[in-house]
């Protein structure tokens, strides 16, 4: 590719995790199904990834590609039914979440790992004050008194840059602006001092300037391991250390952020990057969409799910789903053609 990445990569992603460091958050071979009126939809298919301490992994993909389902299922937050986790393993700091009782699970959630959601208005309970909601998880984890919990809420609001935290702590979600509310939600997620933060498109609902502020805030948490779900490649480029690309419920490529943006191997990733509009490139002013539609998850083909829309497809792609294989150091793609290219290179 001749063009530079769409946005500057911000802070130097030099904090690349040394090989062999024990991951803090690990998802292994996760499979999730949904019962729908049309049949069983395979929303997550053999998804695996890991995050090292202090690392930021971005999961990107179109809406419906299974990003959110993967993470909610990993934390056992998906409603069952209609969903069902049919296989896999999720380790948080070595603890297998799927082997825990409900009660043990509650001890891990909010303390070791917590989550930030996309729509801050509906993610907050409308009839409880912000302060209460920030501290209620921690109150259980640490047995804090009401007073201490309130102090903690104020402190957390201050840390995420909410002005007048003393006042805000007693307000209700609808009284805060979208940006403030998103900050408050981050405060809520960080209140338990978790090791891993999962952020599910936390900036999608915000306007661009507020989005930039929130990103700045998240970048400032250097020790935190972050899984950042997004369909916004611009955000990902400036934030993540590594990127995993999902398509039709599977990870089809993952690797360091520079590799993904400069040296994408999977035809889907390449098409995605081609469809990102660039202000500085007059030749490619229009958003190029990928022709065709993703396959129905109810009726997934046995082969590569991208086959129907792929520019380099071959007959072998029809028979079996290609596995993720190394195409470069710490860079994997699930594509026969890309694998061959890597082997011959």
């Amino acid at each position: 590719m001749s063009t530079t990445p769409p946005l500057t990569t911000g802070a130097e992603p030099a904090t690349q995790t040394p090989l062999g460091v024990k991951p803090i958050f690990e998802v292994d071979d996760l499979q999730v199904e949904f019962r729908t009126s049309a049949g069983v939809a395979k929303a997550v298919n053999h998804v695996g990834f890991s995050v090292a301490p202090g690392e930021c992994l971005a999961i990107v993909g179109e809406s419906g590609s299974g990003k959110t389902a993967t993470l909610l299922a990993a934390l056992r937050l998906l409603p069952t039914p209609p969903s069902r986790t049919t296989g896999g393993r999720v380790l948080v700091d070595g603890v297998d979440l799927f082997s825990l009782s409900r009660k043990e699970l509650r001890d891990v959630l909010g303390r070791d790992i917590s989550m930030v959601f996309q729509d801050s208005l509906s993610a907050f309970n409308p009839i409880l004050t912000i302060g209460r909601q920030i501290s209620e998880g921690v109150r259980r984890h640490r047995g804090l008194s009401k007073k201490a919990a309130r102090a903690l809420s104020i402190e957390m609001l201050e840390r995420v840059g909410v002005p007048d935290p003393q006042q805000r702590v007693d307000q209700y979600p609808h009284q805060l602006s979208g940006g403030m509310r998103q900050r408050a939600m981050i405060a809520m997620a960080l209140a338990g001092e978790p090791k891993v933060l999962i952020a599910d498109e936390p900036t999608t609902a915000l306007d661009v300037t507020v989005q930039a502020q929130i990103l700045e805030l998240v970048r400032s948490f250097q020790d935190l391991s972050i899984v950042w779900v997004s369909h916004d490649l611009g955000v990902v480029a400036g934030l993540a250390d590594r990127v995993a690309v999902m398509y039709a419920g599977s990870i089809i490529e993952q690797g360091p952020v520079r590799d993904i943006f400069h040296d994408a191997r999977h035809p889907y990733t390449r098409a995605l990057l081609g469809s990102v509009p660039r202000l500085r490139d007059p030749e490619r002013g229009d958003l190029v969409s990928i022709p065709g539609l993703p396959p129905s998850l109810v009726d997934l083909p046995p082969g590569c799910p991208f086959y129907a829309r792929c520019g380099v497809r071959e007959d072998r792609c029809l028979s079996r789903m290609p596995e993720l294989v190394d195409v470069a150091p710490r860079h994997q793609a699930a594509c026969f053609v890309a694998a061959d290219e890597a082997r011959t290179a």
Binding site: P6, F34, R35, T36, S37, A38, G39, A41, A43, V60, G61, E62, S63, G64, S65, G66, K67, T68, A69, L72, L77, L78, P79, P82, F117, Q118, D119, S122, P126, E201, T204, A205, D207, V208, H231, D232, L233, G234, A248, G249, L272, S275, V276, P277, L287, S289, I290, L293, P294, P295, S296, L297, V298, D299
Partner: protein
């Protein structure tokens, strides 16, 4: 049944580099943490089936009302048989006979000839008056709007049956007066509805566009406003057909509506009150009322689910199903102001 993620759902138009364009999402992948309620869960009767049952019942009653004189040998009023009075159901008299020996079956069936027209006329009158006033209020605005809305507020603050009772009593017991008294207490609901529709539609782009190219007020109203305002009104009117049947029967039961010997369902239940051991006297007319009310409810519910775009797209927002039932039940009375 889980609603699918709609195309473009998670696509944020403000995001400069959104991946998924409209139409690029995947069907069959309900992956958001919230799951929209299916129609049946929203308190509706169960969609298509309920609608079909409702329509079948109403059609059945219409056919009965029209054809009954040809297939029952008994006249509901004049065929009295004092020897065979208060006979239980069976034999010649399917629903038994009343205290004058009249055939209860014939009387119940003939009752449809009364209840259906009463309901239709009352609702028609109420809709016509209410909508006209509401449209005037919405279009004129200002003081006229204010006065009209205050008056309708006041009428709405009476419980319908109490006000209708007073009016019906004042006018004297008759079927016509039932129509008048019920229409007199139900019109403001349509006024509010119509005014709201006019106000919201008036500012729709297509109306502004029509005005900008110089369409006259009357034409804008007729062509661009009225058709859009009518849908919710049609839904409400359908449900109200059942409500009016209930209310009219109540008035007749009290004794300020249709008078004996008219075969009116409410009046028949009232007569049954003094012959409480003859259970068939009250049971059948009551079931007739129930079937009618439910039928119109079914149809109205199904229509609402079809028309109301808010209901169809409502996802995860508080108060969807709730406010619908509220709105529906209080029909613009107390519930609307609280919601």
């Amino acid at each position: 049944m889980t609603d699918m993620e709609r195309p473009g759902d998670a696509t944020d138009p403000t995001s400069p580099v959104a991946l998924a364009g409209p139409g690029e999402t995947m069907s069959g992948a309900p992956v958001t943490p919230t799951f929209a309620l299916s129609k049946a869960d929203r308190g509706g009767g169960g969609g298509r089936l309920a609608f079909n049952i409702g329509v079948t019942l109403v059609l059945l009653w219409v056919v009965i009302a029209i054809t009954i004189p040809w297939w029952t040998p008994f006249d509901p009023v004049t065929d009295q048989d004092l020897q065979g009075r208060l006979a239980g159901p069976g034999g010649e008299h399917w629903f038994g006979t009343d205290n004058l020996g009249r055939d209860v079956f014939a009387r119940v069936m003939y009752g449809a000839r009364l209840s259906l027209p009463i309901a239709l006329v009352t609702v028609a009158v109420s809709v016509a008056i209410g909508c006209l006033i509401g449209a005037v209020a919405g279009f004129l605005g200002g003081i006229a709007d204010e006065v009209i809305m205050r008056i309708s507020d006041i009428v709405l603050s009476f419980p319908a049956i109490v006000l209708a009772l007073a009016i019906a009593a004042a006018l004297g017991p008759s079927t016509t007066n039932v129509v008048i008294s019920i229409a007199a207490v139900t019109w403001p609901e349509y006024t509010r509805l119509m005014r709201g529709q006019v106000l919201s539609i008036r500012n729709n782009l297509h109306v502004l566009a029509a005005q900008s190219i110089g369409c006259s007020r009357a034409r804008v109203f007729r062509v661009h406003v009225l058709p859009f305002g009518l849908q919710p009104i049609l839904v409400k009117a359908t449900v109200d057909l059942g409500m009016v049947i209930l209310l009219a029967a109540g008035l007749s039961f009290i004794g300020v509506g249709a008078v004996p010997p008219t075969p009116e369902w409410g009046a028949m239940v009232s007569e049954a009150q003094s012959r409480i051991d003859s259970w068939w006297l009250g049971l059948f007319p009551g079931l007739a009322i129930l079937s009618m009310v439910l039928a119109f409810n079914f149809i109205g519910d199904a229509m609402r689910d079809r028309f109301d775009p808010q209901m169809r797209t409502q996802r995860g927002k508080g108060g969807g199903a709730m406010s619908r039932i509220l709105r529906r039940t209080f029909l613009g009375r107390a519930g609307e102001r609280a919601a």
